[in-house]
Structures are given as structure tokens and as C-alpha cells.
């Protein structure tokens, strides 16, 4: 046992540990800033357990102790017990729906004494374990449909449970596991299609009511048809590796579009959108012909992509304009910057931008922020914790925080890549995906780039369950990483 311990200390990735401690410390200081009150300057007892800062400090301590305990649990134990942990956590999650009290519409909290616990924060751990275990099975191949569906089930089950807890934000985090699947060989088309869908939506709806100067054509609709062509040609060139076909399509599409535009502007005005639809149609036909001649099945998929894209965009447009309720439409319009709704849906983000923007280059100094202290920013110590950093530490400080966080994520990516087996790699990539997704959505939301989805910034946002949950994920992986060279 003595020897084993020594090995652990030696083979443990201390870089990650240091980064973890840095993030935890910076996070705790940010919470001090966010909960510090200007008025009661006498209350400076940051470690008092009645204060949020004190509670958070306690949870950090608990997390470190748990982390140390996790050093004694080796990889084999996880592989062995993963299914039990997964099932147990799912059951706990379902139980939560029924026994938890309703807190602001959410049913995700189990209260024990004065402390509340969110089982959802630990379900990531269970899902990660289960995914790593199943993908590590001998003969697993993600391109095999049954295996892929198994993965899908493992990911979607907790997602559904959490949606039932009315925590949509936390549920969306599970989508990040698709990044893991991508790394493990899932066709990139899935991610590509998803990203294309988002792009169509944002461009199409965002510019729907802007028209060309000389023509009665919506810029948004026109841009989407052009994007579909660009994506299709890109797919032909890089996915199907049919450079020649792609070049032909590119040339034809550009020439026809320009001629149509020129005629519409200088000769007689007509709806050039029809020309684009015509081009899409000819593209499909041409791709199908080439597919036949070259016996290239992927070109069929590409033409299918064009059809699905076009249909998707038009149904989106229809849903947005005719199906959605006004308040839902407003949320989307605010997000796309079409409307300023500073008192309603846009309030949080607006105040958050004010708080961050007022920080300037070097910030107002620790505990000197006004916007966060005076409670202009809602959720300032949880989801909007980054505002406090932005306001008090300025551009310099907040950039530092972002860089440290990304260095931490990239370090995990490096650790994941150096694993000798699928279990370790999947486990590591799950962490990378989860941390990055949280970062992407949380910071993006605070900066007004991504939608307001209420998920915490790991190690920064106030909340014991989330800190402990992320710590468990991290330390279990560090132990797995420390074990990678041992033959078990």
C-alpha cells in the first residue's frame, strides 16, 4: 500500500491540480466580491458559515477531501461499478422529481438540514462512467447502429430526467457528450448538420426583415439559400472529395447568381430568390447525376442535405412566425439582437454587459464593483458570477480567468489524449466536453453572445453540489490518468 501511494503522488498530474486550485481560489474570491455588501462594511467574515462565502469555502474543503479519498479508488473499481452508479443516480434523479420542494418552478433540490443538494450535478459523473465503460467494451464501434443507439440512450436518459426536474439548462449540458462521440468516430455530419441548422436559423430569422436596397428580397432568406449552396459545395469538395464536381457547381452558381443580380438591379426588377431556388434544384439534379456516373453514394447524401436544409429553414420560419407565442418570439428576437427589451427578457444580459463593460481595462478593484454589489445583475454569484470578475478585475483580470480556464480544459484534452485505452480517453473527453460546454454557454450568455441558459461556470458559480460534482469528475479522472501506465 505504501508503495502504491507513493506512485500515485508521483504519477498524479500536478499541473491539473494547480489549475484546479487556481480556479477554485479565483472563484471563491469572485463570490466574495459578489456577496460583499457596500453598506455593511462590518460584515467581513467571509468564512462564517452563515455567509455564502463561508459555505462555499466549506464545500471547497469538502471537495478537496473527497478528491483525496478518490485517489484511493482505482480504474477497475469504476469499470466494475459504473452501471450501478449510473442506475442509482438516475433513480435518485427520478426520486428527486417527486420528493423535492418546488423552488422557483424547479424540482431538482433535495434538502438535508440547511443544505440543499442537486443530484443532477452528480449525474454527469454517472453518465461519464457509463459512457466510458460501454465504449470500452471489446468490439464496440460507434458506426454500428446498435452501439450508437446504446450511447444515445445513456446520454438521453439523464437528459430527460433533468428536463422533468424543470432544469432545461442543466439538461442541455448532456448534449456536450456528442463531442465525445465525435472524437470517438461518430460521423462529423451529425455535428455539421446541427451547426448548419443553428446558422440557418440565426441568419434567416435575424435578417428576415432586412431587404436589399433595390430589390424586394429579404436578405435573410437570400443569405440562407446562398449558405446552403456553400455548405453543399463544401461537403462535395471535402467530405465527398469530389473536387471537380465542386468546382463546376461553384462556378455555375456564382456566375448565375451574379448575372441574375445584375439583371434585377439594372434591367428589370424581379425576385432573385427564385433564381437561388432554381440553382438549388439544378445542384441537386447535378449531384444525383454525378452520383450515378461516379458511383459516389455520398453525393446522394449531399443532395439530400440540400433538400433537408431548405425544408428545415422554411419550417423554422413558419414555426417562428406562425406557431410561436409572442413571448417566445420576443426571447429569440432579443437574443438575435432584433429587439431591445431591457426591462424584460433582455434585462439580465443588459445589466450584465453594463457591469462587465464598466470594468474597463483594469477593473474597479476587488470588492469595489458597484453594479454587482447593488444587485443590478441578477444571479450575480451563481450563473452571472463572471460579471463580478469583469467589473472588479477588468479586461486584464477577466481575460486571465478565461485563459486559465481554457488552459485547464486543454490540459484535460491532453490528458485524455494520452490515455492508453478507450475508457480513459472517453472519460477524459467527457470532462473536456462538459467543462467546455459550461464555459461556452455561461460566458457567452454573460457576454450576450449565446442564449440565456442558466448553467453555472464550474468552480466559480456559488453552489456546493456543482463544485463537488465537478471535483468528483476531475479527481476520479486524475486517478485514472495516474494509473494509465500500470497494467491492471
Amino acid at each position: 500500500m505504501e508503495k502504491g501511494k507513493d506512485n500515485i503522488l508521483k504519477s498524479l498530474d500536478w499541473t491539473t491540480v494547480v489549475l484546479y486550485l487556481m480556479l477554485g481560489t479565483m472563484g471563491w474570491l469572485a463570490i466574495c466580491g459578489a456577496s460583499y455588501s457596500y453598506i455593511d462594511t462590518s460584515v467581513l467574515e467571509f468564512f462564517a458559515l452563515t455567509e455564502r462565502t463561508g459555505k462555499q469555502a466549506m464545500w471547497i474543503g469538502v471537495s478537496i477531501i473527497v478528491g483525496i479519498v478518490l485517489m484511493f479508488i482505482d480504474k477497475r473499481s469504476y469499470e466494475f461499478s459504473s452501471r450501478f452508479i449510473y442506475v442509482a443516480l438516475i433513480l435518485l434523479g427520478i426520486l428527486t422529481i417527486f420528493i423535492s420542494r418546488d423552488i422557483k418552478g424547479s424540482r431538482s433540490w433535495i434538502t438535508i438540514g440547511s443544505f440543499g443538494i442537486q443530484p443532477a450535478e452528480f449525474m454527469k459523473f454517472g453518465t461519464t462512467l457509463a459512457l466510458a465503460t460501454i465504449m470500452n467494451k471489446y468490439g464496440f464501434s460507434i458506426s454500428r447502429r446498435s452501439d450508437f443507439l446504446k450511447c444515445l440512450a445513456i446520454i438521453l436518459l439523464p437528459l430527460v430526467v433533468i428536463i422533468c426536474q424543470k432544469e432545461t439548462g442543466s439538461a442541455l449540458v448532456y448534449l456536450s457528450f456528442f463531442i465525445v462521440l465525435y472524437r470517438e468516430g461518430m460521423t462529423g455530419m451529425v455535428l455539421f448538420t446541427a451547426i448548419s441548422a443553428v446558422v440557418y436559423f440565426v441568419v434567416g430569422i435575424g435578417y428576415e426583415n432586412i431587404f436589399f436596397e433595390e430589390l424586394p428580397v429579404s436578405v435573410g432568406h437570400y443569405a440562407v439559400t446562398v449558405l446552403i449552396q456553400i455548405f453543399a459545395i463544401g461537403m462535395t469538395a471535402f467530405w465527398c472529395k469530389e473536387k471537380k464536381t465542386a468546382a463546376t457547381l461553384l462556378a455555375v452558381n456564382i456566375i448565375v447568381s451574379l448575372i441574375a443580380y445584375w439583371i434585377a438591379v439594372y434591367l428589370f426588377s424581379f425576385n432573385i430568390l427564385y433564381v437561388q431556388y432554381f440553382l438549388l434544384l439544378t445542384d441537386i439534379v447535378y449531384l444525383l447525376i454525378r452520383a450515378r456516373i461516379d458511383k459516389q453514394k455520398m453525393l446522394v447524401w449531399t443532395s439530400l442535405f440540400i433538400i433537408v436544409s431548405t425544408l428545415f429553414f422554411h419550417s423554422c420560419d413558419y414555426v417562428f412566425n406562425n406557431v410561436m407565442k409572442p413571448h417566445q418570439r420576443v426571447r429569440i428576437e432579443v437574443l438575435l439582437g432584433l429587439k431591445e427589451d431591457l426591462a424584460g427578457a433582455g434585462y439580465n444580459v443588459h445589466q450584465s454587459k453594463i457591469a462587465i463593460g464598466s470594468g474597463g481595462l483594469f477593473g474597479k478593484g476587488f470588492l469595489n464593483g458597484t453594479q454587482t454589489k447593488l444587485k443590478y445583475v441578477p444571479e450575480q454569484d451563481t450563473d452571472f458570477i463572471f460579471c463580478t470578475i469583469g467589473e472588479e478585475q477588468g479586461f486584464a483580470g477577466s481575460t486571465f480567468v478565461l485563459v486559465v480556464f481554457i488552459v485547464f480544459v486543454l490540459r484535460l484534452l491532453r490528458l485524455a489524449e494520452r490515455q492508453n485505452d478507450t475508457f480513459g480517453r472517453v472519460y477524459g473527453y467527457s470532462l473536456v466536453s462538459i467543462f467546455f460546454f459550461h464555459f461556452f454557454i455561461n460566458i457567452g450568455m454573460v457576454l450576450g453572445i449565446t442564449p440565456v441558459i442558466g448553467i453555472p461556470l464550474p468552480f466559480f458559480s456559488y453552489g456546493g453540489s456543482s463544485f463537488l460534482g465537478f471535483s468528483i469528475l476531475l479527481f476520479s479522472f486524475l486517478r485514472i490518468d495516474a494509473d494509465r501506465d500500470r497494467r491492471l
Binding site: I354, T370, L374, F395, I406, L447
Partner: protein
């Protein structure tokens, strides 16, 4: 076990992560460093700059008697939205001592966009202004019963004297125009609107202080920012000491009771205005408190215009008082000597023109001509000047004459430290060229020599003429403020101005004026053991003649020079002379003799009937 076929994907993923990081850093940079917009927004979010108003400067008279001070007053405000359906109207009416109808009217006024353009049901609206401390105390006891009602404390002016209303002036809410022009003010601030309050606004107002308070997201004040390190203290306004002798002012106002007219007295050596009466006058007290609005309206609509400061805004023909200035001009220009006699056959008769005069021995040299106020003498003098070969043309001569008049302070604003002064009228050659199509001569304009015709002066200019004579040729621009606390007066109120006439010429005029008191038209101005000099004036106009008098005393080292002008008072000797004499006695002796007290009483009760017309 490694799946090497997808190894390149780690670069795609790593690259995506780094791209997101870069996008976020760029976004942060644009939010925090490139844009100032958010910084300003944050400040207006969090900081509530509470203005601390300084106390306005006090005003004293020349003997240190307090005239104007500050008094707290209370405005009753309410937020329409907050009182909806919660107001016990009867209770409120009884607490404020108003009637139900009054209440309804006030509410209507608040909601009327014409009388209250800034109406909003979310912000505080003025319900009732300027409650006294007692009225407020009674209301405050019950304030808790009226949710949505608030009290705003303000500082208003209170007066410890019952005179000098038009000089002291008034304060009122700053006008939208001024608000735009001067960023110092915010809506609802008080600003001097009339009189000294207006002309010395920048001195009296002091400097506002600012308290930096922190305001939370709900608009609640959370305390001082940095414990008040950035706060600025208000600087109280500077006190003014007036040159006005309030007792003299009071006597002047008393003597002009029931008459329209004006009195200005000046200390010749300093240009300090000792009193400036404009009648009818009003007691400044009536513009304090809740009746202010009604009283102000009454004053503004009064046909006799008590709010008009006739001493600087009224222009009158100076009549014979003007002859002194003519004598100076003729002497200085060599048109006459003190010994030059002119005939007077019951007036000036020449080339078919006749300007009447009262009976007196003739011909007379200058000094008795001044003493008897001979019209003929000064008509001849002006005719001789305007037809003199010395100037070549009548136009040239006319403009020389004009230059003399201007040098004596006529024709332009004197520059007194009160708002609204007018310039009066001194005609020049171009004026007559235009009026008579260049075909005119000395005879055409002859009446200006006796202070009639086109010539008009303000009572202040007439008094200044007298002060100039008393000084034998110099004057300091008349001013009402003697000194400003910790500050100096403007240079114009300290530097003497010279007229174009020499001291020698002035001595002759002084002699004439002394003679007028001893044996001439204003014997009524003679005071025992004080050498008084004077000159009457009886200015013709459409109605009954105006009664005028200028006088100064003592003849050598004069202490007071004054002008009295009583509209439609008839002969100078009837009203203006006795009033002038009483004022000189009061000022020089400090009080009136028993005899004079009776005279003053009698003068005060004399009524001139002006009819119902607009004045």
C-alpha cells in the same frame, strides 16, 4: 486499442476551443476597453447624485439692517399612481385647510398638460407649494394617512422690511429657456427673476454641493459612496450690502403714496444709490407664502404697474431740470459766458415761434436764469449754438450737443446693477434729418433745450445729472450694491466717469441752483443750516404737467443728490420740491423735525387722481 483513424479530430476540437476563447476575449475587449457606453450606464445606474442646496446670500441695507433672509418652506408633492383609490380627500382637505373645490381644481391643474407639461403619473407632482413651517407641521402629523404624498423642503426668501420690493426683486422657478442655456440649474431650482435677485444671481446663489449616494437595482438608497469621499460641500451664497438706506427708502415710498412717480437719491462721491423709489410700491411680504400666487397676479394685472421699476424703466421729459445740462454745454462751448444775458418777453419769441415763460425780470444772465428757470434764456442759448458758424452745419452742432448729453449719462443705459434699465432718448442730427427730411434748424428743435420734445430720461439719469453737478463734473455709475461679501464690486462701480463740461462751468450751475433755493423756484427746498442746491422742473405732457425736482446738499462736499418725479403733479414746487426737501432732511439729519413730520404726513395723504386708464 487506440483508434488512430480519428486522431486528427483532437486538433479540430482543440482548435474550436481556442477559437471560442479568442472570440470571447475579443468580445470582452470591445465591451470593456473600446466602449465607454457601459461605463456611463453603470454610473447612472448606481450613483444617485443628490444635490445639496446652498443657502442664498442675505441682503443688508447700508447701515447693516437685514432686509432679506431665507426661510424654509414646504411643497406638498404626490405621485398620482400611488394615491389611486387610497386617498381620503376630506381628511386631506382638512389637514391642508383647503376646500373640496380647491382640491379638485389643484388635481385638475396637475393633470392639465397645458399648465403642467411634464406630467407623469409615476413621478412626484406638485400639489401645493410654499407652505409655512406651521402649516407644514399641522400637515406632517397626518402625513402617514396619505400614502403617495410627500413633502419637499425648500428655501424661500423672507423679508424683514416692507419696502424696496422692486429693487430686491424676486426668485422663482428657473425657466425652460434658462435651463437650456445654463447647465448649473435643474428643473424646479429657484433663480432670481427680478431686481437684485436676478442681477446678482451668480453671487447670491452660492455653489451647489453633491452627495454621491449608491442606489440599488430597486432605486433604494444604500448609503454614501466611499463614505462621502467624493462628496462636495455646498458653498453658501455671498451676502450683499446695499447702498440703499432703508429708512430713506421707506420715507420715499411713504411720500409717494397715492401718486405715481419715482425718487432716486445718490451719494455723489461714490455713485451709491441711497434710495430708489418707484410708486406705486408694494410690500415684498405679500409675495411670501401661500398667497404668493394670487398676490403676484394682482400686482401683475394692476393698471398702475407696481412691478415696474419706474426709476430705471420709466422715461420722462426732464423738463426744466434739464436746463442745468444746457447751461453746462453752452458755457463749455463758449456759446455764452456766465454774464451773457438773453431777453425773455414772457417767453422765447422768435420768427413766429413762441415758447412761453412765467413772469420774471428780464433780460437775465445765467445764474438768475437758472434760479428763475427762464425758458427764454435756454431757448436762445440752444438757438445760438445750433446756428453758430463754429460748427458749419446745424447737423454738426446738433451732434456736438448730443455728445455733451451722452457724456452726462443720457441717451444710453447708465449701467446700474439692476435688470431692465432703459436708455431714454437723446435725439441726434440723423434723427431730425429723418424726421424733417433734412430740413430743420435750431428753431425746429428748440423745445429740447428746456427738457421737452424728443428728450426723455429715466429718473435715475435725472438723479445722476444732479450727482454729476454735485461732483462738479464727474460721476460714478450709480449702483445699488455697496459691497459683496469677500468680493469686490465691478470696476465700473468704482471708477469715475468725466463729462465734457469743466469744473468751472459746473460751479456756475451750482451757483444757479443754490440761488434757486435761496430766491428762485425751489425755495421750498431750503433747509435750515444746510446749504441746499436745487432745480425744479415742470414737464409738459398730454395731461397735467409732471412735477420734478433735482437737488443736492450740502453745496460743498455734497452727501446726497436726488431727483424726484411725480407724474401729473403740476408745478415742480407743488410735489417734487417738498418731497425732495424731506428726503434730504431725513438723510442728512437722520430724522425729520417735528414740523417736517407733519409735512410728511400731509404729503403722504395727498392723492393725485389718475383715472382708470392703463399707466
Amino acid at each position: 486499442m487506440n483508434d488512430y483513424t480519428h486522431d486528427s479530430r483532437k486538433f479540430i476540437l482543440g482548435g474550436a476551443i481556442i477559437i471560442v476563447l479568442l472570440v470571447y476575449i475579443i468580445r470582452l475587449f470591445s465591451l470593456q476597453v473600446l466602449s465607454d457606453e457601459y461605463k456611463t450606464k453603470a454610473d447612472s445606474n448606481a450613483f444617485y447624485k443628490k444635490t445639496i442646496y446652498p443657502s442664498r446670500g442675505l441682503i443688508y441695507d447700508r447701515n447693516g439692517e437685514l432686509l432679506v433672509y431665507n426661510q424654509p418652506a414646504y411643497d406638498i408633492m404626490f405621485v398620482p399612481r400611488e394615491i389611486k383609490g387610497k386617498l381620503d380627500t376630506l381628511e386631506l382637505c382638512s389637514a391642508l385647510n383647503i376646500t373640496r373645490e380647491d382640491f379638485e381644481k389643484r388635481m385638475e391643474d396637475v393633470r392639465n398638460p397645458r399648465s403642467n407639461p411634464g406630467y407623469s403619473s409615476y413621478t412626484q407632482q406638485m400639489f401645493m407649494s410654499r407652505l409655512s413651517a406651521e402649516e407644514f407641521a399641522r400637515f406632517q402629523e397626518k402625513l402617514f394617512r396619505f400614502p403617495g404624498f410627500y413633502v419637499q423642503k425648500r428655501s424661500i426668501r423672507q423679508y424683514s422690511c416692507d419696502a424696496a420690493g422692486v429693487i430686491l426683486g424676486d426668485i422663482g422657478e428657473v425657466s425652460p429657456k434658462r435651463l437650456k442655456a445654463d447647465s448649473y440649474y435643474v428643473r424646479g431650482d429657484y433663480i432670481g427673476t427680478q431686481g437684485l435677485e436676478a442681477s446678482y444671481e451668480n453671487v447670491l446663489r452660492g455653489k451647489k454641493g453633491v452627495e454621491m449616494l449608491l442606489r440599488d437595482a430597486h432605486g433604494r438608497i444604500q448609503g454614501k459612496y466611499r463614505s462621502g469621499a467624493l462628496d462636495t460641500m455646498p458653498e453658501r451664497g455671498k451676502d450683499l450690502t446695499l447702498s440703499i438706506d432703508i429708512n430713506l427708502q421707506r420715507l420715499g415710498e411713504r411720500l409717494l403714496k397715492n401718486k405715481i412717480g419715482s425718487i432716486v437719491a445718490i451719494e455723489p462721491s461714490t455713485g451709491e444709490v441711497l434710495c430708489m423709489v418707484s410708486s406705486p410700491s408694494y410690500d415684498p411680504h405679500i409675495l411670501v407664502g401661500r398667497q404668493r400666487g394670487a398676490n403676484h397676479k394682482k400686482l401683475a394685472n394692476d393698471k398702475r404697474k407696481p412691478l415696474l421699476n419706474r426709476a430705471i424703466m420709466g422715461t420722462y421729459p426732464p423738463g426744466s431740470t434739464f436746463k442745468t445740462s444746457q447751461a453746462l454745454t453752452f458755457l463749455e462751448e463758449g456759446i455764452i459766458t456766465e454774464n451773457t444775458p438773453f431777453p425773455c418777453h414772457g417767453g422765447f419769441v422768435h420768427a413766429g415761434l413762441r415758447v412761453g415763460c412765467h413772469p420774471h425780470p428780464a433780460p437775465l444772465p445765467l445764474i438768475p436764469a437758472i434760479a428763475t428757470s427762464c425758458n427764454g434764456y435756454f431757448c436762445w442759448g440752444l438757438l445760438r449754438m445750433l446756428s453758430s458758424n463754429k460748427y458749419g452745419k446745424v447737423q454738426k452742432a446738433m451732434n456736438v450737443w448730443r455728445d455733451y448729453m451722452v457724456s452726462m449719462g443720457f441717451g444710453y443705459k447708465l449701467g446700474v446693477d439692476l435688470p431692465g434699465e432703459v436708455r431714454g432718448m437723446i435725439p441726434n442730427a440723423q434723427f431730425y434729418d429723418k424726421a424733417y427730411r433734412a430740413s430743420w434748424n435750431g428753431l425746429t428743435v428748440i423745445s429740447i433745450s428746456i427738457g421737452q420734445g424728443e428728450v426723455t430720461l429715466t429718473p435715475l439719469q435725472i438723479a445722476n445729472l444732479c450727482a454729476t453737478i454735485a461732483n462738479r463734473g464727474t460721476f460714478i455709475t450709480p449702483h445699488v450694491v455697496k459691497s459683496i461679501e469677500n468680493d469686490t464690486l465691478a470696476d465700473t462701480y468704482r471708477t469715475p466717469r468725466e463729462t465734457m463740461a469743466s469744473r468751472r462751468s459746473y460751479e456756475h450751475v451750482v451757483a444757479g441752483m443754490r440761488q434757486a433755493v435761496l430766491a428762485g423756484t425751489c425755495r421750498g427746498a431750503n433747509l435750515p443750516d444746510i446749504e441746499v442746491c436745487g432745480k425744479t422742473g415742470t414737464a409738459q405732457n398730454k395731461g397735467k404737467d409732471h412735477s420734478a425736482f433735482i437737488g443736492f446738499a450740502p453745496m460743498n462736499e455734497p452727501k446726497i443728490a436726488l431727483a424726484v418725479y411725480v407724474e401729473n403733479g403740476g408745478f415742480g414746487a407743488t410735489y417734487a420740491v417738498p418731497i425732495g426737501a424731506l428726503l434730504m432732511e431725513q438723510y442728512l439729519k437722520g430724522e425729520l423735525s417735528a414740523d417736517s413730520k407733519i409735512k410728511a404726513e400731509e404729503m403722504q395723504n395727498r392723492v393725485i387722481y389718475y383715472g382708470e386708464g392703463e399707466r
